[in-house]
Amino acid sequence: MMTKFLSRNRHAVQRLGFVAITLMAIVTVLPIVGTILFIIYKGGSAISWEFLSGFPHDGMRAGGIFPAIVGTLYLTLGTAVFSVPLGIAAAIYLAEYAKDNQWTRLIRLAIINLAGIPSVVYGLFGLGLFVLFLKFGTSILAASLTLSIMTLPVIISASEEALRTVPQAFRTVSISLGATRWQTIRKIILKEALPGILTGVILGLERAAGETAPILFTGAAFFLPRLPNSPFDATMALPYHLFVISTQVPEMPIQIQYGTALVLLAFVLTMNVIATVIRSRARARRQW
């Protein structure tokens, strides 16, 4: 009976299926769009020149978030300085030089596991190693290094993947024309893999920019009356500032909280958009 019904109404069944799938797609997108719209709605009114360029005052219940914005920029740049060269170098080693053996399998396993560690654990590790043992103190340096370790697996995996996507034939041909391995990597492979690598780098840094736990013990300050002026200073940062004003300060005006969230979100989404643009442009230009 049922099969007879289904076979006679194949088109209806197909349409029903499409509707169900479309609905599910909408359901997955809704929370994201909803969150963004909600934060814009609640925090949009707080955004002003004074908010973006001023220091907080009145126990942070008024004024701006300028030092937190600058701090997040410093931390993101600091993270990039350490994690980008190291991450790309590691990816080149894994994709281009390393043989498939126990040793490299161990490295890969370590990278995968590194990506799964909760961010607060990185924070504690950074406190132990950089702040206390290496005596960097709670500082931009210690926080950047901690964020770098957290970001490395993302950058390594994405870069290795990007390098592996470059056709093997380019390597063979280049070597057959008298190139060394390193010349081949420098002149062809890196150039072709660069968009993929950049995407990975930006996604990794974007995660670093939005994290609170790793900087909590290593470099974030509750409040600073001035901007940091050396890597050994602590700094305010957007995610930690958001945590502070949402939980630690009584009678906090709600639009400042949402305004801060909006700025952080805009920061991260902008990086995301840049990554997407790089990727789609490169895909259009690709010659293979």
């Binding site: 056709p167 034939a169 390597r171 063979t172 041909v173 057959s176 008298g178 150039k191």
Partner: protein, 252 residues
């Protein structure tokens, strides 16, 4: 005529147990087309890749014997493989234009060799593209991506890229396997011109091509050199039963 290359008791086995060579010995003449033919897996490509040490990139279980080019054993670990690969150029089965312009493709090897003078590079571009019989088709679009060309044109640019290094020996591994008959004809015509200056070793993509182009022909079967001689006589009156069976199409 002298032997440019002398292969002595060459044996090789890959780590994955694939295609190998068994005690191959042969001399290869200068300024002639030597064709290596036979069914797939016979060791032809392996032999080609030994001649420019491209096999260094592959996992090899065991290898023995020697290859003398101009009297020097190139399998010696002390060989300068970069210099060797500039002297022994290779064209692959599928055209692989590097992701850059036609001009950049042609000068790629030269620039790596340290040539920076623009006049020299331009000269090399024109000379090698002419030798590869593609100059007239691309001279007005040298700065366009090489990948925009047709397959046959790409393959001749790849040939020009090898010629730009002024090699002495050119290895071609089924260079026309992906090409239409007209493009194939052009590549074969270019080879006939080139053998006046170079030593050419060709793995053909068909027996017909082997018969058309071979000054000398070597028949390989499961890693062994079965028969080797002048092309004319080998394709008309083969001495070995196996060679005859293969040429007559009794197995493949």
């Amino acid at each position: 005529m002298v032997d440019k290359i002398l292969i002595e008791n060459l044996s090789l086995q890959y780590s994955d147990g694939a295609e190998s060579l068994r005690n191959v010995s042969m001399g290869i003449r200068e300024n002639a087309v030597t064709v290596l033919f036979g069914p797939a897996g016979g060791g032809k490509s392996t032999l080609l890749r030994c001649l420019n040490r491209l096999n260094d990139l592959t996992d090899i279980k065991t290898s023995s014997g020697q290859i003398l080019i101009d009297g020097e054993n190139i399998l010696d670990p002390k060989t300068d493989v970069i210099a060797l690969r500039r002297k022994v150029g290779m064209v692959f089965a599928r055209p692989v234009p590097l992701p850059m312009s036609i001009r950049e493709n042609v000068v790629y090897g030269l620039e790596l060799a340290g040539e920076t003078r623009g006049s020299k590079l331009n000269e090399a571009v024109e000379r090698s593209l002419k030798l590869a019989a593609i100059w007239d088709e691309v001279k007005d679009r040298l700065d366009e991506p090489a990948v925009a060309l047709s397959g046959g044109q790409q393959q001749r640019v790849c040939l020009a890229r090898v010629l730009a290094l002024q090699p002495e020996i050119i290895l071609l591994d089924e260079p026309t396997s992906g090409l239409d008959p007209i493009s194939t004809g052009k590549v074969e015509d270019a080879l006939l011109e080139l053998k006046k200056e170079f030593t050419i070793i060709l793995v053909p993509h068909s027996i017909q091509q082997a018969a058309r182009t071979a000054d000398y022909a070597a028949f390989f079967l499961t890693g062994e050199l079965v028969e080797y001689g002048e092309g004319k006589s080998l394709f008309t009156i083969p001495k070995q039963k196996k060679t005859e069976d293969y040429i007559m199409g009794r197995f493949g």
